[in-house]
């Protein structure tokens, strides 16, 4: 992330399928506990539905589905991370969200060719902190509209 050189990146760390991911705090609006989600028919598979977020109808994405991971039951630690993207507001379901950490600029490395099973295009880089490995997400690509639309047409 050359544009943020000399500076640490403040990021929210969350867990998904035993791996740790990070999103810049700048994009995160809030972290919510699970609540009733209203399913929206005929949308992409990973769109879980919509919730009432303090009066605003907010779409929720199941990140496990989005990343092609196997589904799991929601637990006490399951959280929704509400992210703001341009003019959109979307919630992401993750296994757990616990930390805000500073990632030193130097610790970030470009995405390796293959990381787990996740497609590389929504990974911005990988940060090594002590023994932890954090995957930095590019939210634009996670929500990638084209892909959503493509999926919609395939389904519809």
């Amino acid at each position: 992330m050359p544009e943020e050189s000399n500076q640490d990146i403040k990021a929210i760390v969350f867990q998904l399928n035993e791996e740790e991911f990070a999103i810049s705090v700048k994009q995160v609006g809030s972290i919510e506990r699970m609540q009733h989600i209203t399913r929206v028919p005929q949308t992409a598979e990973f769109v879980k539905g919509v919730i009432n977020l303090r009066g605003v109808v907010t779409p929720i994405i199941d990140l496990r589905k989005r990343f092609g991971l196997e589904a799991s039951e929601f637990t006490e630690s399951t959280r929704m991370i509400i992210v703001y993207m341009e003019d959109m507001e979307v919630g992401l379901i993750v296994d757990a969200a616990y930390d805000v950490i500073d990632i030193p600029k130097g610790a970030v490395e470009p995405a390796p060719e293959v990381v787990g099973t996740v497609d590389v295009d929504y990974i911005e880089g990988v940060a090594k902190l002590d023994s932890r490995l954090l995957i930095l997400l590019n939210m634009n690509n996670v929500l990638s509209y084209e892909e959503v639309k493509a999926l919609k047409t395939v389904e519809g």
């Binding site: 209203t38 109808v57 959109m88 507001e89």
Partner: protein
């Protein structure tokens, strides 16, 4: 000058005045002898001039000023109204509007208005319209001449005579020196007030700087006025001092000297007289205008509120409606008497509040209709057709958001009616119709909807032509065409890529119009139908919801999920025995009051998870779109409720058969079914 805070008011009011100019000018054209109309026009023009001068918009003020002069001549029976004059005046109004719009969008409001000014001058002087360059130069020279400081020395012969005569008749000639306070913000406004007072006590003969310059704020802090009055100098001083921000007034008696012989410097006496009249005119008119304005009865007391504030109020109220729903639910489950009573009371009050807030957002559709007379006049001219436009129900009120959206579609339909509907006068005569075509705009309320009809007595829609075109465009097949009803055929012209006009004109007929109209109207939750008889005319009727943000819905349940169906599209609900369901073309249908109604199983459409246990009875919501009906199979009805329409956000767009979402009393989100897209 710090005029920003006034800018908004200025723009709003200017728009209103321009609109009223337009309206009245058109009235005047129909009724050229109606001088009261001229007075109305004059009043608007005058106020506009005053305001623009105060705000420092020179060109705007200049043009209105000239326009005013012409109107004044008309008013005083010096000029007869004719189409040429009106054309020029209307053109001037158009320019004014452009300038105001320019100002509104942050511009300077400056524009080259010389040609129009010339034309207006020419009209005023009773000359042929185009050639009038000389006069302009003359009067401009005059203005620069009179900016000299010493008033007495600038008096021309005519003024001197007036002063001498008035003195003989027992009037005082006063020379008033008036200074404004240094911190005076609206100098021109103060000057205006001073003049108003002076005009009440006597007649202003001359001022230095000139009235024009004073209005434009082209002066320092003090100015001098020559006044002819019967009142005491001290009285006048006192009166003028009452105007706020006036620092000092001094009134001196003044005797004009004998006419000087420097006629060489001055323009020839004949034109001299008329020019003075021009220079004096604004002052006089100010007095006239004020007098009549004072007489006007004070009607409704209104305040201007920024629409954003109303939107904010609406949003807050929407939150309240959601909480109200929740309270109702809690009260119901607790069965606590007092709580239930209180909640009921609150529900009633918030119901009233809702009505008031919704009403506040309602504006008469006149706001959209009022620009049509102008447009129709111009279009008719361009097309060489004669049109009589009738507007009915302009007072019908609609939500502001609907009003904002409905303008363009209406413009399109009107253009369409004029271009393709109404025939050329000659052709109309051959068909045995009056040469003048008629176009009717009709708006009315009915239930929760507003209907707008646009009807013409033109050529109507040629059914065969539409069908041929539709077949050649591949919109339908020839087999399909045989089974279509009249209305279905007419609906075809609103499909995209369809234009039946033989020749494409500037006005309409590019084939991208009516489908856009249809889409806009449907996106507003309305619909449009067409009725037409060949050679007798067409009627386009638009149905629109009264408001967009709070709607009445029927809540239904499908398995564990709740959906809301807008009440406006529901005809009724029914419970049907399974054995009454028939099958046609592999589709389930029912016989509903003598009509075959297709059934749609929402469980399938929305892929609701759950096992398909079969019941002996089906709960059915019968919905309609235009003439077509369909029955939605649901699991159970929950009941009717007022809900707040919310969008699904920018991430989820174009979800099939869902028009939005709402938040229910228990805080959950329910999806609102778009019944229009369920009926094909």
């Amino acid at each position: 000058m710090e005029t920003n805070e006034y800018l908004e008011v200025f723009i709003e009011e200017s728009k209103e005045h321009i609109q009223s100019l337009n309206d009245h000018l058109l009235e005047l054209e129909k009724n050229p002898s109606d001088l009261s109309m001229v007075n109305e026009i004059f009043r608007s023009a005058h106020t506009l001039k005053g305001m623009s001068a105060t705000m420092g918009y020179q060109d705007l003020a200049n043009l209105t000023h000239k326009m005013e002069n012409v109107l004044d001549a008309v008013r005083n029976n010096k000029l007869a109204v004719n189409t040429e004059i009106l054309d020029v005046v209307l053109e001037a109004v158009d320019q004014l509007e452009e300038m105001v719009l320019d100002i509104a969008s942050g511009g300077e409001g400056s524009k080259d208005v010389e040609l129009l000014v010339e034309q207006l001058d020419a009209i005023e002087n009773g000359e042929e319209i185009p050639a009038a360059t000389k006069k302009v130069d003359d009067s401009q020279e005059e203005v620069s001449h009179s900016s000299a400081v010493n008033l007495a020395s600038t008096l021309d012969e005519f003024e001197r005579t007036v002063l001498l005569e008035s003195k003989e008749q027992g009037f005082h000639n006063l020379e008033l020196s008036i200074s404004l306070r240094e911190d005076c913000l609206l100098k021109a406004a103060r000057v205006y007030m001073v003049f108003e007072i002076l005009e009440q006590s006597g007649e202003v003969i001359k001022s230095s700087p000139t009235v024009q310059e004073l209005e434009d704020e082209n002066f320092d802090l003090s100015f001098t006025v020559l006044l002819v009055t019967k009142e005491d100098p001290q009285e006048i001083e006192k009166k003028v001092m009452k105007v706020s921000e006036v620092d000092k007034v001094q009134a001196d008696l003044f005797t004009p000297g004998q006419p000087t012989k420097n006629g060489g410097d001055e323009p020839a006496p004949a034109s001299n007289g008329s020019q003075t009249a021009v220079a004096e005119a604004p002052v006089k008119k100010e007095a006239d205008k004020k007098a009549s304005a004072n007489k006007a009865p004070v009607n409704n007391k209104t305040i201007r509120v920024n629409i954003d504030r109303l939107d904010a109020l609406m949003n807050l109220f929407e939150e309240l409606v959601i909480d109200r729903g929740r309270l109702e639910q809690i009260a119901d489950s607790l069965k606590h008497n007092e709580l239930q009573e209180t909640v009921e009371r609150m529900t009633r009050i918030s119901g009233d509040l809702q009505n008031i807030i919704l009403n506040m957002r309602m504006v008469p559709i006149d706001q959209v209709f009022n620009r049509f007379p102008r447009m129709v006049r111009q279009l008719a001219k361009d097309l060489g057709k004669q049109i009589n436009l009738e507007i009915e129900g302009a007072e019908t009120e609609l939500d502001r958001t609907v009003i904002d959206e409905i303008g363009d579609p209406l413009v399109h339909l009107i253009r369409n009616a004029l271009d393709h509907g109404v025939e050329q006068p000659d052709i109309r005569e051959q068909k045995g119709k009056p040469r003048e075509g008629s176009l009717k705009l009709y708006a009315y309320h009915s239930g929760n909807h507003v209907f707008i009809e646009i009807s013409d007595d033109g050529a109507g829609i040629n059914r065969d032509k539409v069908i041929n075109k539709a077949i050649s465009n591949g919109v339908i097949t020839s087999e399909q065409s045989e089974t279509l009803t009249e209305k279905q055929v007419f609906q075809l012209i609103m499909e995209s890529g369809f234009s039946t006009a033989d020749k494409i004109s500037d006005v309409s007929g590019r084939g991208v119009g009516l489908d856009v109209v249809k889409n806009t109207i449907e996106s507003l939750g309305g619909n449009i139908t067409i009725d037409s008889k060949l050679d007798q005319g067409s009627v386009f009727s638009i149905q629109l919801p009264l408001t967009l943000s709070i709607i009445s819905v029927m809540l239904v349940e499908i398995e564990e999920e709740k959906y809301a169906v807008p009440l406006s599209s529901i005809i009724e609900t029914a419970v049907i025995k399974k054995s009454n369901i028939m099958s046609a073309h592999n589709k389930k249908v029912i016989d509903f009051r003598g009509r075959v109604v297709p059934l749609i199983n929402l469980k399938d459409v929305f892929e609701v998870p759950g096992d398909n246990e079969e019941d002996d009875y089906y709960s059915i919501v019968i919905i309609r779109k235009g003439d077509k009906m369909a029955g939605l199979i649901v699991d159970s009805f929950i009941g009717q409720q007022e809900v707040v329409l919310k969008s699904l956000g920018n991430y989820l767009t174009d979800v099939f058969a869902i028009s939005g979402a709402t938040i229910l009393g228990d805080g959950q989100v329910a999806l609102i079914i778009d019944s229009n897209s369920l009926i094909m």
